[in-house]
Symmetry: C3
Subunit: 338 residues, 3 copies
C-alpha cells in the first residue's frame, strides 16, 4: 500500500492503535491508551467478551480473521495503525500480512524471512551472530540435535535426538513430506532478549529479557512423559552484566543486517532467542521481527533495562506508544510504518 | 456474630486492619497503612520482634493464638477488621475461624469447604472447572497419581506413584487410619492464579499469577533424595495471553458457584491452582478462598495484571485496602464482611 | 589511606560515584545519578562503547585495570567514592582492593575474609548461622558433597560427588596442588538474600532476594552433559513470610559478627547465600560483603522487600545513593567509607 498517500488523510490528533486481541495485545493497547492514543482490539469470535472487560480498550471488534482485509478500509478511515505480533502473523499468514492494507508499525517485510527457517538462519549469520550448526544429512549428525518441523508453533512439534541413530529412528515416524530442519542441540540455558529499534532516538535499546515457561519440560514430570516444549508463559530474568555488551552487540548487528537485506530496516520491538553455554558464549537459534510475548512479564511495571534509557520503568506497549507519539511530534510518523 | 450490630458501634474513620503476623501480613498491613487505615499484627510468641521492625505496623500484639478469641473484644472496640490468610486458618483451625467474633474480610464460610478435599473438588466441579480424576480404589489406578494425606500442609506429606503397583506399595507404609485422596498426577507445568472478587466494582479481577518454589523438588538434587514438595517461596510468571480468557472464565465460574453454594459468595482475594498441560488445557487441583502467599511476589511493586483494572500497578494488600476504603465510602462496608 | 584527611579536601556538593563497569554498575550509577551524584564508570578496554550508550553515566574511563591505582589521584581530586562489587574484587584482587587509595563505600576489610573459604565459614559460624558440614579427609565423607576449587569463579570449578568413592575418584583428576574445600552437599532449594546495613538508620534491612540462573544446570540438558554451575543471570523470588524472621536474624547476626571481628562492621549491601531444606531449615554456604549481582533483578523497579522500609520501591543502587546522600546531610559521610 501507499503509506504516504494514506497518511495524508489521517487526522494525527485522533490516531488509533489496533491489534489482534491475543499475544501481547493487552500491553499494547494499555500502553497506547496511557499515551493518549485510541485503542481497538480485533478479537476472534468467542474471545471478545474477555477484552470488553477492560476500559482502556475503546472498541472490541469481534470478527473472523479470515476477513481482516474487509475491516481495513474502516480502520484506515479511523486513523488506525496496526501493531503486528506473533499471533497476528499466525492467524492471517505471512502472505496476507505482507499485503494487509493498513499502515503497520515496524518493518512488515521481515515476516517473509521469519517464515523460512533457512532464510532466518541466513539473516542471523549475516549479522555476525553465532547460530547452532545445521545438518542436512541425518546420518552425518555427530552430536545431540533438535528437529524443528516446519510450521511448528510455540514449541509444539520439536524433538531432540542424542545422536544420529536416535535421530534416524525418530525421523522415520514423522509424516513423509514434512519439512524440517536439524540443528545442533546447544547445551546451556535459554534466554530471550527484547530490543527496540528506535527511529526517534536513532538507537537499539536492550529493553528486557525473559525465560519461557514451557509445558511439560518445565514441570515436574519425573520421566512419566516425553519432554514437550509448548510455551505457556514467561518468567522475568536479568543477565550477568558482563554479558550485556555482547547481547547489545548482537542486537545492533541484527539491526544493521536487516537494514541491508530487508529495507527499511528494523523498526520497533524485536527479539533474539538464545542459549547461553557454560563458557558464557551465546548461541542464537531464533529471532522475532516484532514484539514477543515475553515482554508481557513487564506489563505495567516496566523492565529493569528500560530505566537505562528512560526516567521511569516502561513496558514494551508503552515503548511502542512512546515511539508513535514522538514520531508524530517530529513529523516523521511515516518512518516507523510500512 | 451479628456483623450489622457490631458495625453500628464502629468509628469508620478509625478503621483498623488486623491480621496474623505471617503468610502475607506484611503486604496486607503495608497496603492498609498506605490507604490510611490503622494496622495491627497479632504475632505468635517469639516473632513479634521482627514485625516491630516496621513502622507501617501501628501495633504488634504478641500472644498465643490459642487465645485469639480473648483478643476479639478489644479488637472490635478498636474498630478492627480481620484479614484472614492461610496461616490464620492453619493456626486457629477452621472451626474456630468460623466463629471468631471479629468482623472478617471476605467470606469466612468457604473455609469449611476448603478443609475437606472432597467438598473442595465438588465445588470446583460445580463451577465447571476441569479437575484431576480421583480414585477411591488404589488397585483401579491406571495412570500416575499423587496422594495427598489429609492435613498435609504446604506440600508436605504428598507423594507420587507411577502406577497401581507403586501406589499400593507406598500406601502400605503410611499410618493406618490416615485419611488421604488419590488424584491423577497431571503432567504439565504448575500455575497459580490470583483473583479478586470485587463488590465495589461488581467484577472478578484476574489480578496476578505465580509459581511456587518448592523444596527439594525445585532444587538440584541429582536424584540424591526423594522429591519433596514443601513450599518455601514464590516466583512471578505471566501467562500466554491466549490462555487468559479461559483463566478468567474459570475465575468467574468459581465465583458464581460460591455465590450459589456458599452465600454470600466470593469476596476479595482467592486463588485457583492449576497444571497447564502441553495441549494448553488447564486442570485445577486446588483453590484457596482467601489471599495466597503467591501474591507476595508483587508486594509494593504491583502485578502486571493489576494495571488492566487500575491506573497504576497494585499489590493484593493495596487491593484489599482499596476495597475496604471504597466500601466505606459507598456505605457498603457490610457487604465485604462476614 | 587516611580517609578523614582525604575527605577534608572533598567538595561534598560535587560527590561522584565511581565503579568498575561490570557486575552491577548500571544499577549503581543510575541510582547515583537519580539522587544527584556524579557518575564515573571505569571500563576494561573494549567495553567502554557499551557504557557510553547511557546518558546517566557522566564519564566512561577506558583503562587496563592493572593500572587502576594510577587513576586514584584524579578520582580523589574529583571527589569520588568507589563502590566495590564482585567484579572489582575479581579484577584487581583482594590485596590491591585493600590498599586502593580511594575512599571506598562499605567495609573493605571484609574482602580478606571472603578470599579464604575457611575464614569465610568461620565468620558465618561465629555469627550463629548454620553452615554445611566440612570434610578435611575425603575418605571420611559419609554423604553427598560439593567440592569447590579455590579461586573458582561464578560456579565454574565446582563438582558434586555422591559418596566417598566417587569423591576420591573425581579428586584424582584435578591438578596436584590445587586447593579445594569439601562441603556437605545440602539438598534443598537455593535462595540468596540481599541485606543493607544502614548507618543512617541504624538497622539491617532485608532488602531483596533472588535465585541464580546457572548454565547448564538450569537448562534442559537431558543428561546430555555433566552439570555445570556457571552463573549467567538472576531470577526474582520471594520467601514464605514465616521464614523471614530467621532470614532477618541471620542477617543481623552476620552484621554483629562482622562488627566484632572485622571493624568497622558491616556497611551497605551484603548477601547470604543459602539452601532451604524441606524441613524449612536454612543452611548458608557463602556470603558476599558487598552488592551482589542478584540485586540487578530489581533495577529501576525496586524489590518487594524495599517497601517495608521506604515509601516507594527502591533498587540497591538507589539504596546506596540514598545512604551516601543522607550520610552527607548528617555530616557522617566518613561513617560509611573505609
Amino acid at each position: 500500500m501507499n503509506i504516504e498517500a494514506t497518511l495524508k488523510n489521517y487526522d494525527l490528533s485522533k490516531l488509533k492503535v489496533v491489534t489482534i486481541a491475543s499475544h501481547s495485545s493487552l500491553q499494547i493497547l494499555r500502553g497506547a491508551k496511557r499515551l493518549g492514543l485510541g485503542t481497538v482490539a480485533v478479537a476472534k469470535p468467542g474471545s471478545g467478551w474477555f477484552y470488553r472487560r477492560f476500559t482502556f480498550i475503546d472498541k472490541v471488534i469481534e470478527v473472523d480473521l479470515g476477513s481482516m482485509e474487509q475491516l481495513a478500509g474502516d480502520l484506515v478511515k479511523d486513523n488506525s495503525i496496526l501493531i503486528p505480533h506473533g499471533s497476528y502473523v499466525e492467524y492471517v499468514g505471512w502472505r496476507r500480512a505482507l499485503n494487509m492494507p493498513i499502515p503497520t508499525f515496524g518493518n512488515r517485510y521481515i515476516i517473509e524471512w521469519e517464515a523460512d527457517q533457512r532464510k532466518k538462519m541466513k539473516l542471523l549469520e549475516y549479522a555476525g551472530i553465532p547460530i547452532p550448526k545445521s545438518f542436512n544429512d541425518p546420518t552425518q549428525v555427530d552430536r545431540p540435535v533438535i528437529v524443528k518441523l516446519s510450521g511448528a508453533k510455540g514449541g509444539r512439534g520439536y524433538f531432540i535426538a542424542k545422536d544420529a541413530n536416535e535421530l534416524v529412528s525418530k525421523l522415520s515416524s514423522i509424516n513423509v513430506g514434512d519439512d524440517y530442519i536439524i540443528q545442533e542441540y546447544v547445551i546451556g540455558v535459554p534466554a530471550y532478549y527484547h530490543y527496540f529499534g528506535s527511529k526517534v532516538y536513532g538507537r537499539v535499546e536492550l529493553f528486557g529479557m525473559d525465560l519461557r515457561y514451557e509445558s511439560n519440560v518445565d514441570g515436574r514430570s519425573f520421566n512419566l512423559a516425553e519432554p514437550t516444549f509448548v510455551v505457556v508463559g514467561n518468567i522475568p530474568v536479568v543477565l550477568r552484566e558482563s554479558l550485556l555488551p555482547i547481547v547489545q552487540k548482537y542486537g545492533e548487528g541484527f539491526s544493521r543486517a536487516v537494514a541491508e537485506l530487508v529495507p527499511p530496516g528494523m523498526i520497533g520491538p524485536y527479539s533474539l532467542e538464545s542459549i547461553i553455554r557454560d563458557d558464557l558464549s551465546i548461541i542464537v537459534f531464533e529471532f522475532s521481527g516484532r514484539i514477543v510475548a515475553g515482554t508481557n512479564v513487564y506489563m505495567g511495571i516496566g523492565s529493569p533495562y528500560s530505566v537505562l534509557y528512560f526516567d521511569k520503568p516502561m513496558d514494551m506497549g508503552e515503548r511502542i506508544a512512546h515511539e508513535i507519539v514522538n514520531s508524530v511530534k517530529r513529523g516523521k510518523l511515516i518512518d516507523i510504518l510500512t
